[in-house]
Point group: C2
Chain length 429, copies 2
């Protein structure tokens, strides 16, 4: 990692470039697995589990006994931490259940919205060396608050055919209805099209590697919705001379340890802080368990020194970071001008890891600049809003001419007739 001092605006695009992920070469492989699962159902799923996860499975569904077993293996301390996280995530997402408007747009013409949960949702939680049970909470807790009637989850098993016990415990606590021992592309395909064991879902959520991401993209071209396109995780820190270089370094490293393609960017007005942070990063990285991977990720991270607050704001809105931590004396002054970011952390005492786990906000956020147009997962991600309307006889008389005139101008005479017939029947009375 290096310090870039006062780059001209013409150099920003290059500086803010994300590590490029091209998954076009996987598409065919992924499509074949999807088609196979779609055709052969559970049998195909079992074949791929044996092939990719080395797990020879009879039963794909995690049983009550397995849940009981898993629960016992989770420490009291971790269970309490999970309960606190569930409490906070619940508090924040439940508050998003706001009253929707009902409007009489004209006398006798009433329009309103109604939020309805999605009938069946599918959650994917990756496996690997450190399974992210926090993701279980971030997806399942809001799904239950939204009152989705059925919440399905898939996560890959180990070679012995067991899912990670903390993942299973978190799934039970969060109210997941069915947990399946299925990973990767086969999990996405099973939830998209259904198999003998896995019910077909209408929206699929959750992170994953390039294969899982490609699978989600492919099924989303068909009948299934997905939470959002996913790319490598990233953080931007904005800091001034009041910032603590140790905190800034720790925040950048906690992003970098996610994966070799993660990105951490520091934007600061203070050349001193830039230097100190670089030294702190070099010092702290030595103590990390995932040191090697973290160093790879740092190789495409930057510390950028800028001259003005305007530069800070413009750079940030152009980059549109997934996570933005503002460690300045007056963080609100900056936050008020940020238009593009997934989740914003204000002040010296608000690390991203608080939001990653337990403050209550969701950690499923738009990466890769998608924050320009997408938001992260929230309560509404698990619902859709129907519109409804009711028109009285009075309303028909008020609105009919407008509708008939417009329909006629669009040469849609049946549309015109549908309104006219009603108007005439009322006028005759």
């Amino acid at each position: 990692m290096e310090i870039v001092r006062y780059p001209g605006r013409e150099k920003w695009a290059e500086l803010l470039k994300r590590p490029h992920i091209d998954n076009s070469s996987l598409m065919e492989t992924v499509r074949n697995v999807i088609d196979d699962v779609r055709e052969r159902g559970d049998e195909a799923v079992r074949d791929y589990e044996l092939k990719f996860d080395k797990a020879d499975l009879d039963e794909l569904l995690v049983s009550e006994e397995e849940f009981d077993e898993a629960e016992k293996s989770v420490s009291q301390e971790l269970r309490e931490a999970i309960m606190t996280a569930v409490h906070n995530i619940t508090a924040f997402h439940a508050a998003q259940d706001v009253q929707l408007p009902s409007v009489e747009t004209m006398p006798g013409v009433r329009c309103w919205q109604k939020s309805v949960p999605i009938d069946r949702v599918g959650l994917y939680v990756p496996g690997g060396t450190a399974p992210l049970f926090s993701t279980v909470l971030m997806l399942a807790v809001p799904a239950k608050i939204a009152q989705c009637p059925e919440v399905i989850m898939c996560t890959p098993p180990d070679k012995e055919g067991r899912v990670n016990p903390v993942v299973a415990y978190a799934a039970r606590v969060a109210g997941v209805d069915k947990l399946f021992k299925i990973g990767g592309v086969q999990a996405i395909a099973a939830m998209a099209y259904g198999t003998e064991s896995v019910p077909r879902t209408y929206k699929i959520f959750g992170p994953g590697n390039q294969f899982v991401t490609a699978a989600k993209q492919i099924v989303s071209l068909g009948q299934v919705a997905i939470d959002m396109p996913a790319g490598p995780s990233e953080v931007e820190v904005i800091a001034d001379e009041t910032a603590n270089a140790r905190f800034v370094a720790a925040d950048m490293l906690s992003q970098a340890e996610h994966g070799a393609d993660s990105q951490s960017i520091l934007i600061t007005s203070s050349p001193e802080l830039a230097e100190q942070t670089l030294q702190e990063i070099e010092r702290q990285v030595e103590q990390l368990e995932r040191r090697e991977l973290t160093e790879k990720s740092l190789s495409h991270s930057h510390i950028i020194v800028v001259r003005s607050l305007d530069d800070v704001i413009d750079l940030t809105n152009e980059y549109a970071p997934e996570h933005l931590i503002i460690q300045t004396e007056q963080p609100h002054v900056i936050a008020d001008q940020i238009r593009n970011a997934g989740s914003v952390f204000l002040g010296h005492y608000t690390p991203e890891s608080a939001g990653d786990y337990a403050s209550g906000t969701n950690h499923t956020l738009p990466t890769s600049g998608y924050a320009h147009a997408y938001n992260g997962v929230n309560l509404d991600s698990f619902r859709k809003k129907m519109t409804l309307q009711e028109i009285t006889a009075e309303g028909v008389l008020k609105i009919a001419r407008t509708v008939e005139t417009m329909a006629h101008a669009e040469q849609l005479t049946a549309h015109e007739a549908a309104m006219r017939l009603r108007r005439e029947s009322i006028e005759k009375k």
Copy 2:
């Protein structure tokens, strides 16, 4: 069209099948046009306009003089109708700007959401024999209420290089910032990647033919968001013996006249109404301008007679219609049980055409069963919600153990350190 009487549940799936649209064969053609526009910009756009719209264009942007000209050609009556529609659409969408929650999830841990408009949005309005200026209102009015800083629109020109005057007038009234004379795939590509004339946008909205739909799908796999996947339009009418067969028939026909692949379905408990509606349809279709096309669409439409209210509800929730009109004595009893529909019209005096044009609700709605997971365009379609959080020293002491315990269990030690360093610095004070 035929009447299907009391079909068994095992026959529903076949009955509710939508006309199949397979656009996979167009994908390569569409991709080539997109790549060409991406590479050659305006020059490529001009070439395709000449090829597909037979328009030889110097300037792609509609000028103020052209807007003035267009406005003059729109009748006073139509202008007033458009103003009424704008008023109602504004009233309904502005009311969706609800207060977002701010929650103290733990003492010292405050989380909130903030709605931010998308910086630049692109609207597409198809051309053809009857240009849908109502779509201009349905997209541009909410975009302006959301305060999107820049609203771009594309619509194809005629052979003389002119856009439809009512479309231009509607764009001006609704506050579109830039209107371009570009149609089809080249319009979607230009708005997705930008050209010398057309600014790059972050989200693209609007209907279109199979080529436009394919183009939207392709660019959505890259950096651009789209409103929703689009398929042929459809309506379901639920009616009982209190319904007026003339109204029911008119509603079904107004859907059918949209295009040969549109679908109209009537579900009724009354065999008499079924018969009467069929006769009315045959009578009314003869008076329509788009008779031929409407008859094609009727060939894959159905009248289904069912025995019970449960059948009505289950059939509807399975079909998940874009539009649902409930013409029964107590429409609210049914509406309360509907979980999957785009827009619902209650009672004998609420035709779909009211919502298509002027009642205030949006007419950009999920087709093809997407109402299972998607809603139609609303105010939030033009914004995204950032989450923000701020933690005090007290909050750090409250939440730190939870975060550290969870991060440690996920083997993310840098995440743990980011919280621990802050906690320790406060504890030392």
